[in-house]
């Protein structure tokens, strides 16, 4: 509730006619942006909790305690869904084709929440660094995807901090009304460097202070 109220209060401030029309002084505009950013960030905590609750209804009662725990795995590697919470992040720089998770993760999940009262769809565009990706829906069905180059003018934006030159595009369809749908995306490794990292080529000496277990 306090997280939601933070955004409610800022939206109240934003009803001022200068905020609506953009006739505020520049330092006020910057302060509005600052307040909104903080409030939206606060609300993301609630969003993450609610999505975890939707995904795992059994954990509703212990939601807060669960969300603070680290992901836990069964000793034999089996996944214990009940104790696992996803960390849902928003990529605020998608409008300049920049997103840490899609650029750096070899596997990631994209979740779309449809706020409309009827089913929907969307062409999802995510900046990526790899050359081949597999997109699967929750049933394990592969979703057709396409990799397209990012426009040169975007790549040349002086404040853009990203090495990506391409975007992954796929159609997220049949998004349920007031519900969510997730897609599992895997980057296909093609070369030794992709798989192990370029530094793995360099011979290194490992000091074994403790026994190392390999999985």
């Amino acid at each position: 509730e306090p997280h939601l109220t933070a955004l409610r209060e800022v939206m109240g401030v934003m009803q001022h006619h200068d905020a609506v029309t953009g006739t505020e002084k520049q330092h006020v505009a910057e302060d509005y942006a600052r307040r909104l950013t903080i409030a939206i960030r606060a609300c993301s905590v609630t969003t993450k909790d609610v999505l975890n609750q939707l995904i795992n209804p059994d954990s509703k009662d212990e939601l807060h305690s669960v969300s603070k725990r680290n992901p836990k795995f069964h000793p034999h590697g089996a996944y214990k869904a009940k104790n696992y919470t996803f960390n849902y992040k928003s990529c605020n720089y998608l409008n300049i084709s920049q997103c840490d998770i899609s650029e750096t993760s070899s596997q990631f999940v994209v979740t779309l929440y449809n706020p409309l009262a009827h089913s929907g769809y969307q062409y999802v565009r995510l900046p990526i660094l790899g050359e081949k990706y597999i997109v699967k829906d929750y049933k394990g069905v592969e979703v057709v995807s396409q990799i397209v180059p990012i426009a040169e003018s975007i790549l040349n934006l002086p404040f853009r901090q990203s090495n990506t030159t391409h975007e992954l595009v796929f159609l997220a369809n049949e998004l349920p009304p007031l519900g969510y749908k997730s897609f599992f995306i895997t980057k296909l490794m093609e070369s030794f460097d992709d798989f192990f990292g370029a530094e793995a080529r360099e011979p290194s000496v490992i000091q074994l202070d403790e026994p190392v277990y390999y999985e």
Partner: protein, 286 residues
């Protein structure tokens, strides 16, 4: 050096040799369609009297000078199974992607404008324009905060005889979700992703203002020029326009119904979240 076309099963758009949009075939009609960018130079005055008012945060007041960008556009064409797009570069600070997704019945324009240069000490207000052959006879339609659609008539007010001193600004209206023109046969609508000023200054033409950078205060209260900067340079703006085009009498759903669906979809978009799943197998996640 050749004309080329992108599209899908619903619509096709063609580009001429110079890289500019030239025709559209969609929803039962084929028509001339051109799109380009232009800018107005902002009026400059000392604000001592009304006719010396500068263009600023509160008012749009061009000085009568209108400039177009070069007719030769640098382009790159991308074709694939899901999306076909044309990357257009108009100059060093204006570019655009024209895009048609395989399952969409509209054309998407993703524009990028800025930093607007001001080395010449002249403020500029950038507009995008869509030219069609529609016989709109001075009538165009704008929304009112997404509620009803209001009929606008160029150089006209319903309740008094109008003599416009400012022919351009006087015909500008707020557009918070869409602007449309039509005749008996064809309708063209442009949906926007944010509130903008818009008009139809000539029959068959839709215009929306997308970015502005001005160097003088207009003396209505803010006491600052509308000259925003980030990282020491003028702001860069990026946004979308969605063009719905077709015959007035189309199959079910009607063109206007399609516009409404698209409007809701774009103004109340899905929320996208990303989660790192490096430690999971698909089956575990499933």
């Amino acid at each position: 050096n050749d004309e080329f076309t992108i599209g899908n099963k619903y619509l096709n758009i063609s580009f001429s040799k110079n890289g500019m949009l030239s025709t559209i075939t969609a929803n039962g009609v084929s028509s001339y369609l051109r799109q380009t960018f232009a800018y107005y130079e902002g009026a400059f005055g000392d604000n001592s009297e009304f006719i010396k008012r500068a263009s600023g945060a509160y008012i749009f007041r061009p000085n009568g000078t209108e400039k177009f960008f070069g007719e030769n556009v640098e382009i790159k064409i991308i074709k694939g199974g899901l999306v076909e797009e044309v990357h257009q570069k108009f100059n060093e600070w204006i570019s655009q992607i024209v895009r048609v997704y395989s399952e969409e019945n509209h054309v998407e324009f993703e524009w990028l404008v800025g930093p607007i240069p001001i080395e010449d000490k002249v403020g500029k207000e950038i507009v995008t324009r869509f030219y069609s052959g529609i016989q709109s006879e001075g009538v165009f339609f704008t929304d009112s905060n997404g509620r009803e659609i209001i009929k606008r008539v160029r150089n006209h007010r319903d309740t008094w005889t109008l003599n416009l001193a400012e022919k351009i600004a006087g015909n500008y209206y707020p557009v918070t979700s869409k602007i449309a023109i039509e005749d008996d046969n064809i309708r063209m609508t442009v949906l926007n992703d944010r509130a903008q000023g818009g008009t139809s200054l000539q029959d068959g033409v839709i215009e929306l203002m997308i970015h502005r950078r001005l160097l003088h205060d207009d003396a209505f209260g803010v006491a600052e020029a509308l000259n925003e900067e980030a990282y020491g340079k003028g702001l860069v703006a990026r946004g979308h326009h969605y063009l719905v085009f077709g015959a007035q009498k189309t199959s079910n759903p009607s063109l206007k119904a399609r516009e409404r669906f698209l409007e809701v979809q774009k103004l109340l978009p899905n929320w996208i979240f990303l989660s790192d799943a490096s430690v999971l197998k698909f089956e575990e996640w499933q």
